[in-house]
Point group: C2
Chain length 349, copies 2
DNA sequence: TTGAAAGCGCTAACAC
DNA sequence: GTGTTAGCGCTTTCAA
């Protein structure tokens, strides 16, 4: 165990009082230049580091940000949150915070963990992922005045933004994908999505539909809703490709569905009826640019996850430091950031 | 912010002194049954939780386990550590610990982070991943007597185990894969591996070679070493499949290489010379059972990651609690756990 | 078995 | 600009 160096050691070494050391660390501008230098040298020399626990007891701030690590549901899309988590850890560290992990199987369990954590480790803030309609987690935190940011919009909340959030513009993503396909000459562009009701899924569907309409194509009958499995995508794609007026390209709400679609497209004989087969291959575009998309060569929409994480930390620090400012002086109390995904073009489209 | 409930509140509510509450929490056996009940009720009623910071100041234990989150190098194999991390968070929570995250670009940076963390948050232990020959991180921690466990063996350390570790038996995995292929009638089973020198890679190669030899097949000329890219795997597989006496099956050190190999195998015309084409398709087995393997249908070796994480926590708690025991009474000071991977059979082999 | 006192390392207030 | 004092919430002596 490294010898414990306290503020008293530094004070003694620098020939000042303990308080002066504390001042140098927390309010340097109040200390004379020369004294500060001396103290800083002592800090360096002794390898001193403020003890969080002691500081926390005094200030009530733990410099800890808590977030949930997901159980990696389907394996394919799971990697998105892992990348976000990595970015969060990095950005947080840069801002002087550390990330504390927890797991929870559902919202109720997550709220129980909030209470647990707040009683014990007292994280300064939470970062929530996977927001959805009627999210009880946000209201719980809001009720208690706990600072937090969500990665994901507050879906289905009528007016105003009840809290700070960061999100990626899914509709803009699928719109870009659809436009890309239109530019390539496709007209009948289908959509493989999730059942209506999920904020993220509906948003992504909307981007596709809107773009198709703008190009004078009626999206009716061109989309299928299904759960997020590779097999589901395969089946849904088959429906769209075997209809009387088959789609020639597919925009998918996820890489899982895109992979399934690709199976259909590439499987000999399963695709469009014979008279339509002559044309170019059916294009497929996924969402999230997961390792699977990379490996299999699926064109996909990439989310700027490191940037999203950095934005979360920025909003959070603003929230935490803004706390002390007179209310109303720190601008928008519930700022948000909407980032744009980018299309990564590969063989599939 | 939830109202802060302290031990004093509980004491008042239960009509006892503060110490009695502390005793109930820390050494329940020393308190009279009835008093304990009363205190526990008060705890429940008030929603009291011990404050970590205060406890830590007193005891010096933070109940924090620090570990690194990886930058998800190639995307395919990255998911392994994410799954481990999830398991670690879960197991740690069960044991009353939380996981603190950090990032580091290399061993030196990681050691700097150790020092940082130890000075500030004082984690009780570290969990290290990705051990390798001449790992300077372990010696640093060893020198300072910091408790830690590695997920990965201490490679290249001559005798004894210098520290607690958990690992998955890679050689046993590739041996099982090879045996599986032998049972299917294959004889010329190739190996796609990493360049010699990596502990993990060499171990996995050894399992393959050993099993082949036991079956009377000379492994010479049947293996290729390459870096861990899909394209690398594709090229290396081509070499092995286009030789005069081509391999009919391939065991791969990773799913990335297996995916590349599969590209070669499935690409029409690129595989074996014409006279050999008649036989069954070339089998391919990967390692790590990543989402990509699942999605593409690659037979692969699955690591019991949740179990590995749980083992890490078990060893750690033993280490941390054993501290107080008289030395020598707690059995093996550097225990280790070697887990077996399991073969997940899919279309590719 | 329970209570009183001390102090972990730090910082906010105030005095010098 | 610098030093003194007090106390955050807890546990660890020690005494009752």
């Amino acid at each position: 165990m490294p010898e414990k160096v306290t503020i008293a050691d530094v004070a003694r070494h620098a020939g000042v009082s303990r308080q002066t050391v504390s001042n140098v660390l927390n309010t340097p501008e109040v200390v004379r230049e020369e004294t500060r230098r001396r103290v800083l040298d002592a800090v360096e020399e002794l390898g001193y580091r403020v003890n969080q626990a002691a500081r926390q007891m005094r200030t009530g701030r733990s410099r800890l940000i808590a977030t949930r690590i997901e159980p990696d549901r389907d394996g394919i899309n799971g990697s998105v949150l892992d990348r976000f988590l990595h970015g969060l850890t990095e950005s947080a560290a840069r801002a002087g915070y550390r990330v504390l992990l927890y797991t929870a199987d559902d919202d109720t369990a997550e709220i129980a963990t909030f209470a647990d954590l707040l009683g014990a480790y007292e994280p300064d803030a939470f970062v929530l992922t996977g927001t959805h309609h009627g999210d009880i987690r946000t209201s719980w935190l809001l009720d208690r005045g706990m600072p937090f940011v969500t990665f994901g919009r507050p879906w289905g909340v009528p007016d105003g933004t009840p809290h700070a959030w960061v999100d990626v513009d899914g509709a803009a993503g699928t719109a870009a994908a659809t436009r890309h396909l239109l530019d390539a000459g496709h007209r009948r562009i289908g959509f493989l999505g999730w059942p209506a009701g999920s904020g993220v899924g509906d948003d992504r569907r909307e981007g596709w539909a809107r773009t198709l309409r703008a190009a004078g194509v009626d999206p009716a009958g061109l989309d299928r809703a299904t759960s997020d499995g590779v097999d589901d995508g395969e089946a849904a794609a088959r429906e769209l490709l075997e209809s009387d007026d088959p789609a020639t390209a597919l925009v998918c709400v996820s890489d899982s569905l895109a992979l399934g679609a690709l199976h259909t497209v590439r499987s000999p004989g399963a695709a469009a009826p014979a008279e339509h087969r002559a044309g170019p291959p059916v294009a497929v575009i996924g969402f999230d640019d997961t390792p699977v998309a990379k490996a299999v060569g699926i064109t996909s929409l990439s989310q700027p996850l490191a940037e999203a994480a950095a934005s979360c930390v920025t909003l959070l620090t603003r929230l935490l430091d803004g706390d002390s400012r007179p209310s109303g002086s720190s601008g928008d109390p519930h700022p948000h950031v909407l980032l744009q995904p980018s299309l990564v073009v590969r063989r599939s489209g």
